[in-house]
Each structure stands twice: as structure tokens, then as C-alpha cells.
């Protein structure tokens, strides 16, 4: 996973998002130890102070735990992780519907388009053609 940033939003906020993704997609499994601030900052090519701020924020959210001498760990609390997953998913879904509305597509139409595109995906992997193929 490559870190990528938008310079017109606070970097620490983007770091939080990308670390949260890592918590969900297996990069930072539950209970595992997090790399040090310096290593993470180097990997992301950001200021260690900024990385520190992001990690501190994630600690406040309860997603990371810090142990005095042993460094930071990902929480083992599965419910926390699950809640994060749901919160982020809901946020993406909200963004989807906002995006659709910006195109003038209301909720029901958006849902229909969504179902169609999903069916098209399971039917064939070539192109964008949403035809219902009959398999013999």
C-alpha cells in the first residue's frame, strides 16, 4: 500500500485515514505491534511530528494502544475494529450517494444502477457491457 497525500487537506487527517485502512485490510492486524513513529514517517515520507499527531489521535479513538516501553499496539478489541469498518463503510456510502446526487441521480435510481453494475460484474469480466449472458 502506497501512502499518497493531498496537500490541501491536513496531512495528519489523511494519515489517520490511511492507517485506519491498514487496520482493516490486514496491514496492521489486531493485537500486532505498530512500527515506530520514525519508521512510519519515513515510509510515508512525512514529518515525524505529524505522524505522531495522527497516532496519538488514533490512540484517543481507542484503535491503538500504547505501552510504556514496548511502543504502540493495534487494539485486540474486535468490536472496535468492526465499528471502524462500519463507520468508514457508511462514510463511503454517503459519499457515493452525494456523488450520485451531484449528477442529478436520486437515491432509487442510484440503487438500481448499483444493482445492475454488480450483476454485470458477476456475469463477465470484459468491458463495461452489462448484458445478461446465458451460459450454456
Amino acid at each position: 500500500m502506497k501512502w499518497s497525500f493531498n496537500n490541501d487537506r491536513p496531512i495528519y487527517a489523511q494519515l489517520i485515514e490511511q492507517i485506519q485502512q491498514g487496520l482493516l485490510n490486514g496491514k496492521y492486524p489486531p493485537g500486532s505491534s505498530m512500527p515506530s513513529v520514525r519508521v512510519l514517517a519515513l515510509e510515508a515520507e512525512v514529518n515525524p511530528n505529524t505522524m505522531q499527531r495522527a497516532l496519538a489521535e488514533l490512540e484517543t479513538q481507542g484503535l491503538l494502544r500504547s505501552q510504556r516501553t514496548a511502543g504502540r499496539f493495534v487494539t485486540e478489541d474486535e468490536t472496535m475494529i468492526q465499528k471502524l469498518k462500519e463507520d468508514l463503510a457508511k462514510s463511503h456510502i454517503r459519499d457515493f450517494f452525494d456523488g450520485m446526487r451531484a449528477l442529478g441521480i436520486e437515491r432509487d435510481e442510484a440503487l438500481a444502477l448499483l444493482r445492475d453494475s454488480l450483476a454485470g460484474d458477476t456475469g463477465g469480466e470484459e468491458g463495461n457491457i452489462k448484458t445478461k449472458e446465458v451460459r450454456s
Binding site: 496537500n7 490541501d8 491536513p10 496531512i11 514517517a41 515520507e45 512525512v46 514529518n47 511530528n49 505529524t50
Partner: protein
């Protein structure tokens, strides 16, 4: 508590030409600060004043509470925008010089950096390409455990890979007691590494701010803010 670099009403005139006018700010420890401004805005003059290469016309500049001199030079590591090694030196002579004159120099760290750049210690410095020479200087300057690093245009005229090396070196060398000041007019490359920025325009301080504060308040990148502030 006084900051590591403090300017108070600092002004410098060359003849009748004002290069710096009433500059006042204070930098804390462990910050990576961008000194941003177009060419001729006084960035280099400010850095030279902190290095005792120039004497103020008015006001003061203090490093760790002391005026620039023999003592402050021991805790300030300076990377100017030009090559400053003698022609007769080989890479190992330059390393030796730093080791001899600076107590806070980490020769092992410098050696590691140079080997990772695949630069042989026996190579005469004058036979290196311009980019490689700059990397050697950077490696030496960052191998000191200084309280204040002053880097004058370290990424100007440098290819993207070299830029990454420079930024990586700065991040890797970060220590809580050391403040790094990077002067540049190329913002977008380095802004995600900065804690704070000082905008310098025609010798005057336009703004001093924490970087994420600007992004949060104005939803703009520092690069965009720079263009606005310095619109011709």
C-alpha cells in the same frame, strides 16, 4: 523558554538596499520549518545572519539564547547553496574534517550514508558530479547531532530521486532536540514534511504558521497559499 532560533527586529541593509526588515519570530525545538519565499526575499540573508556570516544592521538573532559566534557554531549545522570543500580534498578528507572540528559529528552515520549512495571514500571530491557533491555535503551536515540545521535551498535544481533522498535524510535524522530550517521556493515537494512555515516577502515576515493549521483553516495546500501570498 527561549526557542532554538530567535529573531527580534532583525534587519540587514547592504548599503542602501534593505535585505531584511524587522524580522521577528521564534522557533521551538524539534520542528521542521520551511522558510519560504521567492528569490531575493531575504532567506539566504537570514540564514547567513544566524551563521555569523553577516552582522545585523539592527535587531538581534539568537541561537539557543546566544548571539552567533564560536559557541553557537558548535550547535548549528549549515548547508549552504554551494560547494564549500577544498579542491585537494577526497571524500574521506571531508569526513575527517567534520570529525575533527565538530564534536557532535557521527562518522559512522556519515559512512553509512555515503556507502548507501555508493560513494567511495577515496574519490576526489572535484571528480564527483554536481548532484553527488551536494549529496556528500548533505550527508555530512545531517550526520551531526546539532540543535539547529540550516539548509539553504537543498532541493533547488535537483532531480526527483535526489529530492527524495534529501527529504528521506531529513526525516530519518529527525531528533526531538534538533530543529531543521529548510529555505526554498519549491513548496509542493516538501510541504508534507514541514511542521511550520515562515513566509518571507521582500525581507519582511508575511506569516508564521503551523502547516496543518493552514490546511485545516483554508483547505489549501501550502503551495497554493504561497502562490496567493506572492502573486506578482
Amino acid at each position: 523558554m527561549s526557542g532554538i532560533l530567535e529573531c527580534n527586529g532583525l534587519s540587514k541593509r547592504f548599503g542602501y538596499v534593505p535585505a531584511l526588515d524587522n524580522v521577528t519570530f521564534s522557533l521551538g525545538a524539534g520542528r521542521i520549518v520551511g522558510l519560504l519565499g521567492p528569490n531575493g526575499s531575504g532567506k539566504t540573508t537570514l540564514i547567513k545572519l544566524a551563521n555569523d556570516l553577516l552582522v545585523p544592521t539592527a535587531g538581534t538573532v539568537l541561537i539557543d539564547g546566544k548571539p552567533p559566534g564560536k559557541e553557537t557554531k558548535q550547535v548549528v549545522s549549515y548547508l549552504p547553496d554551494r560547494m564549500y570543500f577544498d579542491n585537494w580534498m577526497r571524500v574521506r578528507d571531508a569526513v575527517g574534517l567534520f570529525a575533527e572540528f565538530y564534536e557532535d559529528f557521527d562518522a559512522a552515520k556519515a559512512g553509512d550514508m555515503l556507502s548507501s549512495l555508493r560513494i567511495d571514500a577515496v574519490t576526489p571530491i572535484r571528480s564527483l558530479s554536481k548532484g553527488t557533491k551536494e549529496k556528500v555535503q548533505l550527508a555530512l551536515v545531517m550526520s551531526r547531532r546539532a540543535k539547529l540545521y540550516l539548509l539553504d535551498e537543498p532541493i533547488g535544481g535537483v532531480d526527483p530521486a535526489a529530492r527524495d533522498f534529501i527529504l528521506g535524510t531529513i526525516i530519518r535524522n529527525y531528533n526531538e532536540e534538533g530543529t531543521v530550517v529548510i529555505s526554498t521556493h519549491l513548496i509542493s515537494d516538501i510541504e508534507k514534511v514541514l511542521d511550520d512555515v515562515i513566509f518571507l516577502n521582500a525581507g519582511r515576515v508575511e506569516r508564521v504558521s503551523a502547516v496543518d493549521d493552514i490546511r485545516e483553516r483554508e483547505q489549501k495546500s501550502i503551495d497554493e497559499v504561497f502562490r496567493e501570498v506572492f502573486k506578482c
